[in-house]
Amino acid sequence: MQSLGVSAAAASVAANAEATAKSGRAGGSDGDAPSVMGPNPIDLTLTVNGVKHAMKVEPCTTLLEALRLHAGLTGTKEICDRGSCGGCSVLIDGVLAVSCLMLAIDCAGASITTVEGLAKADGTLHPLQEAFIRHDALQCGYCTPGFLVAGAWLMASTPKPTLPQIQQAMAGNICRCGTYTNIFNAVLEATGQRPLIDGTIA
């Protein structure tokens, strides 16, 4: 998998939408009459971090709203609400996507991973979460879930990412406090590489 940035996250959304359209989940393919949904709320079940969440949502509900308001998973943040900041990043069937630009109904049947799902069920942290803590790769922490999801997605495909690969994979994420340097160090360390400036104590 190539490293993808902001446009890449958007592209992966488009690719995913295409996939769901082909599978018929979004209604209307292969000559079938398009199924009509809404405007009233419809039943929807989302599989998030391996858990099924049943909800009743209007078809215009974004995946981000469904996660935060209906599934109670508020780790995924709304920051820019237009695909520019990466704060609402999630993995959909393992692919990085910004959940503010996706309809919840398009994700029925998909396996969704949010920041709450990065650690194992027994609480064992993802190596990147541990590295974020150790390298102080967060300040206010509001962008942190998005960076972690993007970083975990990068690590899943690229065992030893270079600094430019890390920067490219996270190009769709914005941090306002200014933690980028420590984030890069965290990814480098989590992938068994030497940080840019080694500020940790063994």
Binding site: T74, E78, Q139, P145, I197
Partner: protein, 708 residues
């Protein structure tokens, strides 16, 4: 626990890939106490609180720089299913984002539909003022003395005008509050920089006495100065609507509103007219500044001259220019980055005119010895000896180096600290401050642990609640400076009470007892395990510490924090694109409490300064006064690919600095100026206007005065 001076320039090996700051702090290794909650998504910010049955609220806002509301269908909004309230009380707006009313509904979707149903029709009113230049009637005359000095200096004068654009705080968690209404009481979740002060006014809005509600602010998604005004108009409206409908209420503004109406760093224009001597000595002159503020004047000050350099006899004048744009608020070192940009670039221009190295000139002009030493160290670390003279390079990619200095004063602030020791040996440190990302929670924990002699893991820090003893607001870089002495006192008081119990039990003199390594010791030998000592506590022990403005003002162990930053960058003169490669930031902050957090503060300040220097620009439409980029797509903030290698160096050489000094603000002051100087060095002409975007670089090189 060591406090070694590890920044002695004479003994330094090369910087890259070495743990330069290790050994310099009270706690080198601790990670922030709330890091686990933040990396797992468990941290609940105010915006994450969604009580069942809450009302969702939005402001109705003016869409232009100046406009009259001609019509608005409030009845249609009220008729939308789910809308419980629609009220538009004002008819005029004098900036984009000015509030004229609100809608409340029982879900975000109903709220959106209600807002759309209003179908507001606005008529624009005449011309709008969107830039400082538009508001200046005439360039001011020089004062008599400055005029005489400049006339006498002949050619050795500089007359230059520097300008900066409005920077929005762009906190990632927007401004707002959620009122969890519980009938005869309430919990108010506010995203604020002042938990204790956020209570003010809410009693009236909620119709509840202060004893019947609590302000909670466990986590804040960024503030940078814009969240210092208590509960804000967002919290006040949410409280009033909650009280009126006896329901929970939620009002967090959206991204566009955050840009438009939650404060900003005002724009600036600085005209410098100075006389200098052949050796670069500045004789003096006159500096006129303007600040581009909101419709009401105030808040546009530009901090130049900064007082960090000897600039001779300078007179100053300032005027605020009212723009049809959102109001300014304090923004991390208010007035300073814009002033430092003008001052540093001015010095580089004087140095170039005199044929001097700008570092050599500055070393003569810097007033504080410590800052001069930091500048010498930073120059060595960046490799200043490889700097070429301005404009000496050919070819498409040109390298430049620049520098700037900083300082920040100490502001006293009151803090009440409590340290509770429980019978099981656990310790709680309590004060009503908040952690906006600076790491204040962790600082309180480290100081308490250090004062008592217990491990950090034994300490639970309770902050972010208005029911705790009053703590400081996060503004002016005061929280660590002022809470550290209070928690030192409280921690020692609590420890002493435990030791007195041990003394009573064992007969050992209390002044010979210490706490270390999980036990109470006498002359280094174990007397009792810490847990056993705490089991002697009859109920709980509370140690108290108080810092008043008076005690801090008298404290000689704290004071000003200086710093110096150095930039190494490339400019592509064919495209005008600037690529910053390295920034070395030498920063004093007195006694370092936490190495990791202190480094993060420096790195963050540098990155915000870089973003200010190269990207950030609130763009108002000249015709309508509407902000054309109220989003994070076209309001560009530095991202991962814009990052240089940033090397924070914590200056711990100051032997008098037994206490912590301010750190939040100073590292963001000099960065933009240092970058501007480095660009000047690379291309040979100064770009006197921030942000230094590629078009300005190309215009400056084409002799079109990208400068203005």
């Amino acid at each position: 626990m060591s406090n070694q001076a590890n920044t002695d320039a004479a003994t330094l090996p090369p910087l890259a890939n070495r743990p330069l700051n290790i050994g310099s702090s009270m706690n080198d290794d601790a990670s922030r106490l709330d890091a686990l909650a933040k990396v797992t998504g468990a941290a609940k910010y105010g915006r994450d609180v969604h009580p069942a049955n809450a009302l969702y609220i939005a402001f109705v806002r003016c869409p232009f720089g100046a406009a009259t509301l001609e019509s608005c269908d409030v009845d249609a909004a009220r008729a939308v299913p789910g809308v419980v309230e629609a009220d538009v009380s004002k008819r005029q707006g004098n900036y984009h984002g000015a509030t004229v009313g609100h809608v409340a509904a029982d879900s975000p979707l109903s709220l959106r539909r209600g807002m759309a149903a209003l179908a507001c029709r606005w008529k624009r009113k005449g011309d709008v003022v969107t830039t400082i230049e538009q508001g200046i009637e005439a360039e001011p005359e020089l004062p008599v003395d400055a005029k005489a000095m400049i006339e006498q200096a002949g050619d050795r004068t500089l007359d230059a005008t520097y300008s900066t654009e409005v920077q929005t705080h762009s906190s990632l968690e927007t401004h707002g509050a959620c009122v969890d209404h519980k009938g005869d009481s309430a919990v108010v979740y506010v995203s604020t920089q002042g938990t204790s002060s956020a209570r003010d006014g809410l009693d009236e809005a909620l119709g509840l006495p202060a004893s019947k509600f609590e302000v909670v602010c466990e986590y804040v998604g960024g503030g940078f100065g814009s969240k210092l005004n208590g509960a804000g108009k967002e919290g006040m409206l949410a409280a009033r609507i909650a009280a009126k409908h006896k329901r929970s209420a939620y009002l967090f503004v959206n991204r566009a509103e955050e840009h438009l109406d939650t404060g900003n760093r005002p724009s600036s224009r600085t005209r410098v007219r100075v006389a200098f001597e052949a050796d670069g000595t500045i004789k003096g002159g006159h500096i006129q500044t303007w600040g581009g503020v909101g419709p009401n004047r105030g808040g546009g000050g530009v901090n130049v001259p900064s007082g960090r350099y000897r600039l001779g006899q300078i007179t100053t004048a300032h005027a605020d220019i009212s723009l049809n744009g959102g109001m300014p608020r304090a923004f991390r070192a208010p007035g300073h980055p814009q002033g430092a940009f003008a001052e540093e670039l001015m010095l580089d221009e004087v140095a170039a005119r005199c044929g001097l190295d700008p570092l050599a000139l500055r070393l003569r002009l810097i007033k504080a010895d410590a800052i001069r030493e930091m500048a010498e160290l930073g120059a060595r670390l960046i490799g200043w000896d490889k700097r070429l003279v301005n404009g000496a390079q050919a070819g498409p990619i040109r390298r430049g180096m620049g520098m700037g200095v900083t300082s920040w004063g100490r502001f006293p602030s009151s803090v009440d600290a409590e340290v509770v020791v429980n019978r099981d040996g656990s310790v709680e440190a309590r004060t009503g401050t908040q952690d906006i990302g600076t790491g204040q929670r962790t600082v309180v924990g480290i100081v308490t642990a250090d004062a008592m002699g217990v491990p950090l893991e034994a300490v639970t820090v309770r902050i972010g609640r208005s029911t705790l003893p009053p703590g400081p607001g996060s503004g002016g870089s005061v929280t660590t400076v002022n809470s550290a002495p209070a928690f030192m006192e409280a921690g020692k008081a609590a420890a002493t009470q435990v030791l007195e119990l041990v003394a009573g039990r064992t007969g050992a003199p209390v002044n010979e007892l210490t706490i270390a390594g999980g036990e109470v010791r006498r002359n280094g030998a174990k007397v009792m395990a810490w847990k056993d000592a705490c089991a002697l506590i009859p109920d709980t022990i509370i140690g108290k510490g108080r810092n008043t403005q008076k005690t801090v003002a008298a404290d000689k162990t704290t004071g000003t924090s200086g710093g110096a930053q150095f930039v190494d960058l490339d400019v592509d003169v064919e495209t005008g694109v600037v690529k910053v490669h390295r920034i070395v930031a030498v920063q004093a902050c007195g006694r370092v409490v936490s190495r990791k957090l202190a480094e993060s503060q420096v790195i963050g300040g540098v990155i915000q300064g870089l973003s200010y220097a190269l990207f950030e620009h609130r763009l108002l439409d000249r015709q309508t006064g509407a902000m054309v980029n109220p989003n994070l797509e076209w309001y560009k903030i530095a991202g991962p690919k814009d990052m240089p290698l940033i090397e924070p160096v914590l200056w711990s050489k100051d032997k008098e600095a037994a206490g912590p000094r301010p750190l939040g603000e100073p590292p963001t002051i000099p960065t933009a100026g240092a970058i501007a100087c480095a660009i000047y060095n690379a291309i040979g002409v100064p770009v006197r206007s921030l942000p230094i975007t590629p078009d300005k670089v190309l215009a400056a090189m084409a002799g079109k005065g990208g400068a203005k």
